[in-house]
């Protein structure tokens, strides 16, 4: 039983990047990387953000952490002290007191650790920045953190190059946990890992969530991974959220044609389930020149004339399931049934 209190609420978030051309670097257009999205994450739950590359997942994540300044919109975060602050608006200096309560886990286990610092220095850096002056205190905390991510504390003096991808990812997690954050934004934390190591990191993240009561925003493109980790899933397409629902609902009964297509495109690890897939034609729209009306209409099998002119908005189709499609209520779409692991082994 988790408490249902939103830890984070994002309202009408937008982030555009200017396109500059010519000698004077004049702005000639805009990439609408994140275009008016809203969602919330409850305390202790995992919301996954899925979508194809370039759809704005990383930009959303970075706006929430204020690594990027949103163009407009609100990012309401409930601090440990119980206040609700809008991190989108505050100047950087004013963020400082609670910024450490949101931390990030990165995709690339190589570029996320400074190769020139030891594991101790990497994990202790946040402690130092938050004013833990005594080296002995830092050492004890680093030991604790390494044990938390199931790494041997003896390896503290080693440099990152001595570790495998999965172990580096654990070091990155230890660093993120150093300051007891409440929200962890994980940007594709297992995409760069080997299959057998992916499972280890996913399990670790699930365990840590239970142990420490963490809240995750989990960015991913792999729907199978998403299914394992999340309570709710938000699907993005060209800077917009097209569907949000509880994981089970979304996978079993998607209401947006794009969600259906994504689910059907995932190669199923079972040769007996080779099915007729929905193969979307064409390519993902360019966020600098999105199509008119519903951004998905050039590729949508259910499109009608209205879709070309009128932009749908995110509506609650049934409790907890929000869909942005004019025809969400009339069309019937296929999902995937949960069936154990989908395999019989041995």
């Amino acid at each position: 039983m988790r408490m249902v209190v939103p830890l984070l609420e994002v309202r009408n978030l937008q982030r555009f990047f200017p396109i500059r051309k010519g000698l004077l670097r004049r702005i000639v257009g805009q990439v609408r990387a994140v275009d008016d999205i809203s969602f919330h994450i409850n305390k202790g739950e995992t919301l996954s953000l899925v979508g194809e590359s370039g759809c704005g997942k990383t930009t959303t994540a970075r706006c929430i952490l204020r690594a990027l300044k949103p163009t407009s919109g609100e990012v309401l975060f409930q601090t440990a002290e119980g206040e609700v602050v809008d991190t989108a608006e505050l100047p950087k200096a004013a963020l400082k007191p609670f910024r450490h309560q949101m931390q990030m886990i990165f995709q690339d286990p190589f570029s996320s650790l400074n190769p020139r610092m030891t594991v101790f220095d990497i994990v202790a850096e946040p402690l130092l920045a938050s004013g833990v002056k005594s080296r002995e205190q830092r050492r004890r905390r680093v030991e604790e953190l390494l044990e938390l991510v199931r790494l041997r504390p003896e390896f503290m003096q080693r440099f990152p190059h001595a570790f495998s991808g999965g172990q580096r990812q654990r070091i990155g997690i230890a660093r993120a946990l150093a300051l007891n954050p409440s929200l962890i934004v994980a940007d594709e934390p297992v995409s760069a890992l080997d299959v057998s190591v992916q499972a280890q990191i996913l399990n670790l993240m699930l365990d840590l969530q239970d142990e420490l009561g963490l809240t995750y925003l989990f960015v991913a493109h792999d729907l199978s991974v998403v299914k394992h980790i999340s309570d709710r899933v938000a699907v993005m397409y060209v800077g917009k959220i097209v569907e949000i629902a509880e994981t089970k609902t979304l996978f079993k009964a998607p209401k947006h044609p794009y969600t259906e297509a994504l689910l059907s495109a995932v190669p199923k690890p079972d040769p007996r389930r080779r099915s007729e897939r929905i193969v979307l034609q064409g390519e993902v729209a360019d966020p600098a020149h999105p199509p008119s009306g519903c951004y998905f209409h050039p590729r949508c099998a259910h499109a009608i004339d209205r879709c070309k002119t009128e932009t749908p908005s995110l509506e609650e189709i049934q409790p907890g399931q929000f869909v942005s499609c004019h025809r969400a209520r009339e069309i019937s779409l296929n999902g995937v049934e949960a069936q154990g692991n989908g395999m019989t082994i041995g």
């Binding site: 080997d194 692991n341 019989t344």
Partner: protein, 348 residues
Amino acid sequence: MADQIARANGQPPMLTVEGLKTYFFTDEGTVRAVDGASFEVQAGKTVGIVGESGCGKSVTALSILRIVERPGRIVAGQILLRRPNAKAPVDLALLEAEGAEIRAIRGGEIALVFQEPMTSFSPHYTIGNQIVETIQLHQDVGKEEARNRTIELLRMVGIPNPERRIDEYPFELSGGLRQRMMIAMALSCNPKILIADEPTTALDVTTQAQILDLLRDIQQRTQMSVIIITHDMGVIAEMTDDVIVMYLGRVVESGPVDEIFHQPKHPYTQALLRSIPSIFAEPRTKLPTIAGSIPHPHNRPTGCPFHPRCAEAMPGICDRHEPRLRPISEAHFASCFLYHEPEAAPPS
């Protein structure tokens, strides 16, 4: 092993790889990238090579085409290519790496599609030019004819507006289109065998679905053999007839796709299948995992390469002796002491 299968099917395989060893002699030590791999490819079938990163999948492909870069070298094994009207197969491993014979085979009878389509094209020439050149290199046709054929190929791989696209540069295309171009180039000389090394790893799911569909479609139309190299069990299940599972440079199990997925024999295959996140799973469930991580290539374990991570490892046997790839059933092979006795003396 090769002969057994050949007899079973009544038809010799197109390609037989037997005991292939490709090592890299680096300053830090010898990397045994491929360490005794054996498998075969039947005419008109799709074979999948699956395994985690660094297990030697790509090097196997490079070895077949004889484009392993220094300090790498094939140190042992045979790569037998059977041609329809020749009596004896040619052993690609024995050909001169830069000789005329292998160059004719490379891009002619055996074509390769790379993981990273951007790096496989020269950025300075239009894609059309590069495909036209490949066609002219292998076939005696004029420029005009080659160009027409290129446009046909582009149309065949589903590139819209091929007449216009043929004159574009690689950087002007999206990842999916580039991969289609790459496939068009590979198909330009009607290969008998197409090797696709992680053809969809850099692509999104929906684009991946398009490319996989295209590959399947072309395979059915041309009846060529396809070798798909991937780390994605889903791609293997969707695409292949036969599967080869590799671990640390060895083939640990091989067999028909249905048996590999539903009756895997090797503990590594079993563990790998259990540990992959599945879209059919219950939300928020923990996955069984394989302990530890893949050893550093310089630090290869003795005996069975999988023994430090194997749940069924038998001390005194698995860490001392090297298992051999042995038949389990007609076309299903595994390399594990659960299925055969160790030889008397530990191999040196």
